[in-house]
């Protein structure tokens, strides 16, 4: 990372950590985590509910907030482009300046109550995994937000697209997958389903998290296949590689659009 990238990122972080929006976002996770731990029968149940909250809120918040932030920064980016910098450095600085604070906000929001309430070591470990997944998903979806913001000129259309992407990946996708599973129930579906889950970062995150909870048995034969797949070192490595790809591809696509864009 060049010093220029670090410098731009540092001011991005400084701007965002003073943002009330981000404070509210971290506060939301802190309150949700605290409340779920406080009012659930067991810590495992609390974390399971938290998984659903995280998988629902993190993609939505990062797509919408990321796109809004990038559209709002448009004029300032023009000013930065007139400075003696390379575009790729400017993009890297802007991306990190956005991704690092939003990832940290989610991580701290989830992590702080777990530490403060003094949960058991198993819960702490699962919570740490959840906080880590939240950070990775944040990076995925701020990357997607850069693609939207630098591809679509009009900000209303851009925000609509951000919502559309979220609806597709978070809701429609599972519906279609379920429909396919029912339609082709007579066929061996484990491998195609696995492929479908790898292709959607939200589903992949859910898969990694749920299997960590030892609830795979509830998923029947398919669950066993998944557990054998993700539970092993090879499976976890593959899941990690695919998630990293999901972080890298949108960010690189955003960088490419940014480099070629006419401001």
């Amino acid at each position: 990372m060049t010093t220029i990238v670090r410098k731009i990122a540092r001011y991005g972080v400084r701007d965002l950590i003073r943002s009330r929006w981000l404070l509210g976002y971290a506060g939301f996770f802190a309150i949700a985590t605290w409340a779920l731990l406080r009012f659930s029968d067991t810590e495992t149940k609390a974390l399971l509910s938290l998984v659903n909250v995280v998988l629902f809120v993190v993609p939505l918040a990062n797509l919408v907030f990321g796109a809004m932030y990038l559209y709002g920064a448009r004029e300032f980016v023009e000013m930065l482009l007139a400075q003696p910098l390379r575009r790729r450095e400017l993009f890297a600085g802007l991306y990190l300046g956005l991704t690092v604070p939003v990832s940290l906000a989610a991580t701290i929001g989830i992590g702080a109550p777990l530490v403060l309430l003094g949960v058991g070591p198993a819960t702490l470990q699962t919570g740490a995994l959840l906080a880590g997944i939240a950070a990775v998903l944040s990076a995925v979806f701020t990357g997607v937000a850069t693609v939207i913001a630098y591809r679509i000129e009009d900000r209303v259309r851009g925000l609509a697209t951000a919502l559309g992407v979220w609806l597709t990946l978070a809701i429609v996708y599972d519906g279609v997958a379920l429909l396919a599973a029912v339609q082709f129930a007579d066929y061996p579906l484990e491998r195609p389903m696995l492929a479908l889950m790898l292709a959607n970062p939200i589903d992949l995150a859910r898969l990694v998290l749920l299997l960590h909870f030892d609830v795979a048995a509830l998923l029947g034969y398919t669950g066993a296949v998944f557990e054998r797949f993700v539970g092993g070192t090879a499976g976890l490595t593959l899941a990690g590689i695919v998630l990293s790809t999901w972080v890298a591809v949108p960010a690189l696509a955003g960088a490419r659009l940014f480099r070629r864009k006419d401001f």
């Binding site: 410098k7 001011y11 709002g72 003696p84 910098l85 575009r87 401001f263």
Partner: protein, 237 residues
């Protein structure tokens, strides 16, 4: 010295710049004028490297502009719209630009004082009024004593006192040998400040050269009337 040759840019069906040739002479103030959507901003953005032209060459001080952008260390830019990160203060903004430009550049803080910005710099930029932000924008363009300045509507949104301060600053820095490229819709202002004019219509240069040449050619007394004359008669000056 900025030399532009055969510059073309098309957005979809719209030919924004159509074979533009232009020389911007050092130590002079060049006004880029023309009706709305004539290509003024696209021309400036092409020189700054914000827009990629379809064809043509742009030489800044004899060297073709390149993507590393080192040539921009000698350029100050005041965009038309001033929007800054909401939660940074003015002081943060100046520190950021200094960080990015490198500490070696000499600083010119005179506009911070003459525009009365000193007391505003500790406030978050989001609470500043539009006019105050425009002042910050102006002060930032001059801050690193660049030898070339691109000012897009520099006095728009400023009160008369601040507007005079900025205009005096432009005149003073021109005497120091700096090169200016201005756009404005206020012709009297350009007449007061500019030496040369680049008159764009539909992406083509209709006239470029000293203002008094345009006035002589059109036999008009003011720049405003000379421009109106060219627009109405379609005369190639």
């Amino acid at each position: 010295m900025i030399e532009i040759q055969g510059l073309r840019k098309r957005y979809g069906a719209l030919q924004v710049l159509d074979d533009v040739d232009l020389v911007i002479h050092p130590g002079r103030v060049t006004a880029v004028v023309g009706p709305n959507a004539a290509g003024k901003t696209t021309l400036i953005k092409s020189i700054l490297g914000l827009t990629h032209p379809d064809a043509g060459t742009i030489l800044v001080n004899g060297a073709e502009i390149e993507s590393s952008g080192t040539y921009r260390s000698d350029i100050g830019y005041m965009p038309q719209i001033a929007r800054f990160p909401e939660n940074l203060t003015g002081a943060d903004l100046f520190a950021m630009m200094t960080d990015l430009r490198g500490d070696a550049a000499p600083r010119d803080e005179s506009l911070i004082d003459s525009l009365g910005l000193r007391s505003q710099l500790q406030k978050p930029l989001r609470v500043l009024s539009g006019g105050t932000r425009q002042k910050v924008n102006a002060a930032l363009a001059f801050h690193f004593s660049p030898s070339m300045l691109f000012l897009d509507e520099p006095t728009a949104g400023l009160d008369p006192i601040s507007s005079s301060v900025v205009k005096d600053k432009i005149a003073a820095e021109r005497l120091q040998g700096r090169t200016f490229v201005l756009t404005s819709h206020v012709m009297s202002e350009l007449e007061e400040l500019a030496d040369d004019i680049a008159f764009l219509i539909d992406g083509r240069i209709r006239f470029s050269g000293p203002i008094h040449d345009l006035k002589k050619a059109t036999r008009q007394l003011s720049l405003e009337r000379a421009i109106a004359y060219v627009l109405e008669t379609g005369a190639a000056a």
